[in-house]
């Protein structure tokens, strides 16, 4: 799994200091990011995901990097053996190696999407910022990859949140770096946009051999798209593993301390407050959604339950037949639930 190591940190401690007191968020991390890999970085709010991302990007100084064990970039990455990488100086991004998509809002909303994406080429341009032919090619490719061709002459204030996020990703792509770090790129977006962005990032890691780290709260999406999960633990470490392993060994439950969510079934836990079991017969989506409606309303589904509800499919129409005497049938779940409530 994964290709060459593109970014690695040894004994990295992350946090804030005011010179006297230290607020340590992560301690002695040993982490690698590899090519062809989409890593989702998860953890509860406030545990320091954003700070770690900014530290890795060289935008925030790491704490307590002893000279003996500095964070280093592998040789192939541009770092020199024995020389601490610019990470340790804090204000030292490596613009041709790492690009970022942050949660910072852009206040200059009067710029066009094209101008925004062009910023990605800045590390390669001199003070005169004159684009060369290959710069333009890279920009076009980034715009194409993110499917924002129709937006390039729009102003940022005209964009929806999803479109703006795509433009920010296009800007990072135009920077043409082996590593891309994204901080909650799917926050505030609707399901469609969230799925589109995660799929895009996954495709990017595959086709462009990039190492991509995404901090996200989208548990379901992360479990389905990530190659690897970084799980921020409560003892200032990072647990890594493939999503399924972390689910099955209970790491997610331990860290998130889910309140009413059963990760192994992937569903919200409903309390069976009605104390009434019903028997449900049927198949397919119709069965699953009926079950969902019943459980959400506090009924228990059980073979020995009474009455028996049968989901019948007739020509594209769904009917629910309830085994009371006499048999009644319903054409919507709403009316079925009303009846059941009376029975309970």
């Amino acid at each position: 799994m994964g290709g060459n190591i593109l970014l690695s940190a040894k004994n990295l401690t992350v946090g804030y200091t005011d010179g006297i007191f230290q607020n340590i968020l992560f301690e002695n991390l040993n982490i690698d990011l590899r090519a062809d890999e989409l890593v989702c970085f998860m953890g509860p709010n406030g545990i320091g995901k954003s700070t770690l991302i900014r530290t890795l990007a060289g935008l925030h100084p790491p704490l307590d990097l002893t000279p003996a064990c500095p964070a280093r970039l592998p040789k192939s990455y541009g770092g020199q053996a024995g020389r601490p990488n610019p990470l340790s100086r804090g204000e030292g991004a490596i613009p041709t190696k790492i690009s970022v998509v942050l949660t910072d809002r852009i206040s200059a909303v009067n710029m066009t999407v094209e101008e925004l994406v062009t910023y990605g080429r800045y590390p390669y341009l001199d003070w005169n910022i004159k684009l060369k032919k290959d710069d333009i090619e890279v920009i076009e490719k980034a715009v194409e990859f993110t499917h924002i061709q129709h937006l390039i002459s729009k102003k940022l204030y005209e964009l929806s949140d999803g479109q703006l996020q795509m433009a920010m990703i296009a800007r990072a792509l135009a920077q043409d770096t082996p590593v891309i770090l994204l901080d909650e790129p799917t926050a505030h977006l609707d399901l469609n946009n969230r799925v589109e962005i995660m799929n895009l990032l996954r495709k990017l890691s595959r086709t462009e051999n990039k190492a991509i780290l995404v901090a996200t709260h989208e548990l379901d999406l992360a479990l389905q798209t990530a190659d690897l999960i970084w799980l921020a633990t409560l003892d200032r470490k990072i647990l890594t593993g493939i999503p399924e392993d972390l689910v099955l060994n209970g790491s997610f439950d331990e860290i998130f301390q889910f309140k009413g969510f059963d990760l192994k079934t992937g569903k919200v836990f409903h309390e069976a407050h009605r104390n009434m079991a019903v028997n449900l017969i049927g198949e397919g989506h119709e069965y699953l959604w009926t079950k969902n409606a019943l459980e959400r309303n506090g009924f228990v589904i059980s073979d020995s339950g009474k009455p028996t509800i049968t989901v019948c499919l007739t020509n594209t129409k769904t009917r629910w037949v309830i085994s009371t005497s006499p048999e009644t049938d319903f054409d919507s779940l709403k009316s079925l639930l009303k009846k059941l409530e009376k029975l309970s």
Binding site: E91, T96, I98, A108, V109, Y119, Y122, W127, I129
Partner: protein
């Protein structure tokens, strides 16, 4: 009209500058025909030899001062608005003009001897420069310590507030005629510079423009915010220092020679952005400088009430024209955008 202006601004704005320049130097308390004015400009002796002196030593110096001061203040405003990503920032947010005001207030109002000490306008210019430089060094030292620009903006405003309160105290304890002198200085003046002083101002403005030009890339990157700018390889502290130094030279030199001129630095960048729809400083910098010159020449023309010897203070006009314009800009575009 606006459309043509938008498309050919690089042609229209300089032409406007030349026209206003000619109008500016042909107006004044002494009536000189335009043909004679042009004669003087091309080095031919006009009908009355005194006209040569009037035009060369009074009107030309004033017109050049307008262009230099207008361009410098407008550029300073653009730099500050970009650096602080705040549309309400102006060249005076660093507290420089307050520093100059304080120094001048100290000279004028505590000297006690009044007119004798500062009969020379150069003394005032010197005091203002010293005040600017002092505040500038203070801001520089603070900028070195604070990481983010918003803190710097607030600190600049606080320095301004503190210095103006000292000025108030000085005003309270000083004599009426000294207060009057100080008040006249704060009105701003574009006509008191001789050719030697204009040369000094010109060099300062030139340096300011050069610093802005080499900062084009970082200015553009600042628009995305500190984190993105750093991630694009912009050396944060270095470029911020450079922009602060540039603004200080521009604002400080103008304030020293012309007094604190309000509004131009705040409003001209917005007017320019209204005209030229871009956020790229490669275009904005030359446009803002020329636009600043145009506006200042225009304001200066308005200070001279036609047909009278009466000249209004420049600050009254800049604010009178500027405030409605800024309000109009906001109402028209609903929101000031950078």
């Amino acid at each position: 009209m606006i459309k043509i202006l938008k498309q050919y601004w690089y042609f229209v704005l300089p032409v406007l500058l030349v026209i206003l320049f000619l109008v500016n130097i042909s107006l004044g308390s002494v009536r000189i025909p335009l043909s004679e004015t042009l004669k003087v400009l091309s080095g031919i002796t006009p009908q009355e030899t005194i006209w040569t002196d009037i035009i060369i030593d009074f009107r030309l110096t004033k017109a050049f001062t307008c262009i230099l001061a207008g361009g410098a203040l407008a550029l300073g405003g653009l730099l500050m608005q970009t650096l602080f990503r705040n549309p309400l920032a102006g060249p005076d947010v660093l507290g420089l003009s307050s520093g100059a005001s304080l120094a001048v207030a100290i000279i004028v109002m505590t000297g006690g001897t009044g007119a004798a000490l500062f009969s020379h306008s150069f003394t005032l210019a010197l005091a203002a420069s010293v005040g600017c430089t002092f505040i500038f060094l203070l801001v520089l030292a603070i900028a070195h310590r604070v990481r983010d620009n918003i803190s710097l903006l607030i600190i600049g405003l606080m320095i301004g507030a503190a210095t103006s309160s000292i000025v108030s105290v000085l005003q309270f304890i000083s004599r009426a005629e000294d207060q009057q002198y100080y008040l006249v200085w704060t009105f701003g003046s574009l006509g008191s510079l001789n050719w030697g002083e204009i040369q000094i101002l010109g060099v300062a403005v030139f340096i300011g423009i050069i610093i802005s030009i080499i900062s084009i890339k970082s200015l553009n990157a600042w628009l995305l915010g500190d984190n993105y700018a750093t991630s694009l390889g912009i050396p944060l502290k270095k470029s911020r220092m450079l922009i602060i130094i540039g603004t200080s030279i521009l604002t400080g030199s103008v304030t020293a020679f012309c007094g604190p001129i309000a509004f131009v630095g705040l409003a001209v960048p917005h007017l320019t952005r209204l005209l030229i729809d871009t956020t790229n400083h490669k275009t904005l910098i030359p446009a803002v400088v020329i636009c600043g010159g145009v506006i200042m020449l225009f304001c200066d023309i308005l200070t001279r009430m036609p047909g009278s010897d009466f000249v209004l203070p420049i600050n009254a006009i800049t604010a009178l024209i500027g405030a409605p314009v800024v309000i109009w800009v906001i109402l028209r575009s609903k929101k000031i955008r950078m």
